[in-house]
């Protein structure tokens, strides 16, 4: 039972990513068990959920890094499972992805990191390339850091550089994997604002995976709450916050105990204590 909080008819129209009945398991353990949802064009969609519910796995399925056990992932109308490796790579040129820790290439400096996709896929003259790279660095406010190596960057800066790299090929879809983890409040505010601004300025479709409810609900148009491999709620942030389903309430309001128990499953306390002696 998955309570659909918004009108389904609206969501179907102009969906960039469409997922139907998605199943995925690792070593026989089900990570995703029947996920359905859609991402509309030019929206910021948040995928939320407690740790270990398969959010990152879902992203990897959307980008074709993993193949589903069952079900269908459609991006821009193309079924990923049917694409050849070359066609998948062609599709990925229209996607940008920001990894959890930025995943900058450690042996290249900031400038070369941002230039990397251009150098690999285009034959731009150096002057034009420089212009593009500096424009993207300017957009994330790090043009001054162009000669620094990744090791010299703070966590927030590394993520902004990675963001510049993700948009350097002018993608249509931008995917963020836990962009707020380990950031101080200032960097977090910067990244948060960048997500919204880039989405609107460049006309992107953004997908953000996160468990920072308060932060992400501030920028998202649409939220999708994942728990134990299923979508338990979907809709605009306000609708999620107002929901009175117990599992949604627990996650959205950060309650320590609820349908997700505080205690890891254990035998009876008294029995276990007695056993030791």
């Amino acid at each position: 039972m998955t309570p659909e909080l918004d009108a389904p008819a609206r969501a179907v129209r102009d969906a960039v990513v469409r997922i139907r009945d998605l199943h995925y398991s690792v070593n026989g353990r089900a990570i995703l068990a029947g996920v359905d949802f859609e991402v509309r064009r030019r929206s910021v969609t948040a995928i939320m959920g407690p740790s270990g519910t398969g959010k990152t796995t879902l992203l990897r399925l959307i980008t074709g890094q993993l193949r589903p056990a069952r079900g269908q992932v459609e991006v821009d109308g193309q079924d990923l499972a049917r694409l050849s490796r070359a066609a998948l790579f062609a599709l990925r040129r229209r996607m940008g992805m920001l990894f959890q820790q930025g995943a900058l290439l450690t042996d290249l400096d900031v400038y070369e990191n941002v230039a990397f996709p251009l150098r690999e896929h285009t034959r731009l003259p150096e002057r034009l390339l420089r212009h593009v790279v500096l424009t993207k660095l300017q957009a994330v406010g790090l043009r001054g850091a162009w000669r620094l190596m990744p090791a010299e960057l703070s966590g927030g800066m590394a993520r902004r550089v990675a963001l510049a790299r993700a948009i350097v090929m002018d993608p249509q879809i931008l995917i963020y994997d836990e962009p707020f983890v380990g950031l101080d409040p200032v960097s977090l505010g910067v990244v948060l604002r960048l997500i919204r601004r880039l989405n609107d300025a460049l006309g992107l479709t953004s997908i953000v995976v996160s468990h920072d409810v308060r932060e992400i609900t501030a920028v998202a148009d649409h939220c999708c709450l994942l728990s134990s491999g299923r979508v338990i709620a979907a809709g605009p942030p306000r609708a999620l916050q107002a929901s009175d389903a117990a599992d949604v309430r627990q996650f959205v309001h950060g309650l320590p105990d609820g349908p997700v128990p505080f205690h890891y499953p254990a035998p009876d306390y008294a029995a276990q204590a007695a056993e030791v002696h």
């Binding site: 995943a103 900058l104 450690t106 690999e120």
Partner: protein, 255 residues
């Protein structure tokens, strides 16, 4: 009963890893033509694996050669043929010590660096990021490193052997008083072009094996700090054992 099951399981794992290595090698070789239009990447790896190993190779070559000078002199003197010291030193360096010791040092110096570097790229999602940027990490990262090792190893082994011969000459001629004319002329008369080729072929094979093992272990590292450490260790251990085993096979074939 349980012992048998464990044995079967580890046997199965061994067969699986042989298969994994073979498939990976095939993928790397298939990706080689795609990497050739970017010689800059290969050159950078020749620098990383070759030029940076130069000091350790030269030092080791010198000392191995000096030991050969001492031991060889002592041994040959018992048969009254210390003039053959040059021949003995040159042949053992060219055919065995040069390729093998270079390969072992390479596995320890360059191989671990390769495995750790690639393992770290795996652990920090750099390889996945490349995939996402529609760049094949095999072509961009793995193949240049593999080719760099294949090119660097025969050159390193040649340098090792050359320095080693001078080391043997240093001890034999300067210290022990072997006649320098005999030392060089006997060596020239006895050593054939085929001996040099044998060493070169061996070291090229070792270069391919050591680099392949290092990049394989790095590429398949468990993406954690511990996993990278374990991959590094595995790459040295596997490479060293394989080098010695293949050395025996190659020697048997080429003798």
């Amino acid at each position: 009963m349980r012992l048998a099951r464990d044995l079967a399981a580890s046997l199965l794992a061994a067969v699986r890893s042989v298969g994994g290595y073979t498939l990976f090698a095939a993928r790397v070789l298939a990706a080689v033509p795609g990497a050739l239009p970017r010689p800059g990447l290969v050159i950078a790896q020749v620098y990383n694996t070759g030029a940076l190993s130069l000091v350790i190779i030269m030092l080791s070559g010198l000392f191995v050669g000096m030991v050969l000078g001492l031991q060889g002199f002592d041994l040959l003197q018992r048969f009254g043929s210390e003039e053959s010291l040059g021949t003995a030193a040159a042949l053992s360096l060219l055919k065995e010590l040069g390729p093998v010791v270079t390969a072992l040092l390479f596995a320890g110096r360059a191989g671990t660096a390769l495995a750790a570097e690639i393992g770290l790229m795996r652990a920090t999602d750099q390889l996945a990021a490349m995939e996402m940027m529609a760049v094949d990490p095999l072509r961009r990262v793995i193949v240049p490193r593999f080719l760099g090792g294949v090119i660097a190893m025969p050159l390193l082994a040649a340098i090792f052997s050359m320095i080693g011969i001078f080391g043997a000459q240093l001890i034999g001629v300067q210290l022990m008083g072997v006649d320098p004319g005999h030392f060089w002329s006997q060596m020239r008369a006895a050593v054939e072009f085929g001996d040099v080729m044998e060493g070169a072929i061996k070291s090229a094979v070792f270069g391919a094996l050591c680099s392949l093992i290092a990049v394989y272990e790095g590429y398949h590292a468990v993406p954690t700090a511990e996993g990278v450490g374990r991959a590094t260790t595995r790459s040295v251990v596997i490479a060293s054992v394989i080098v010695l085993l293949v050395d025996y096979l190659l020697t048997a074939v080429m003798l």
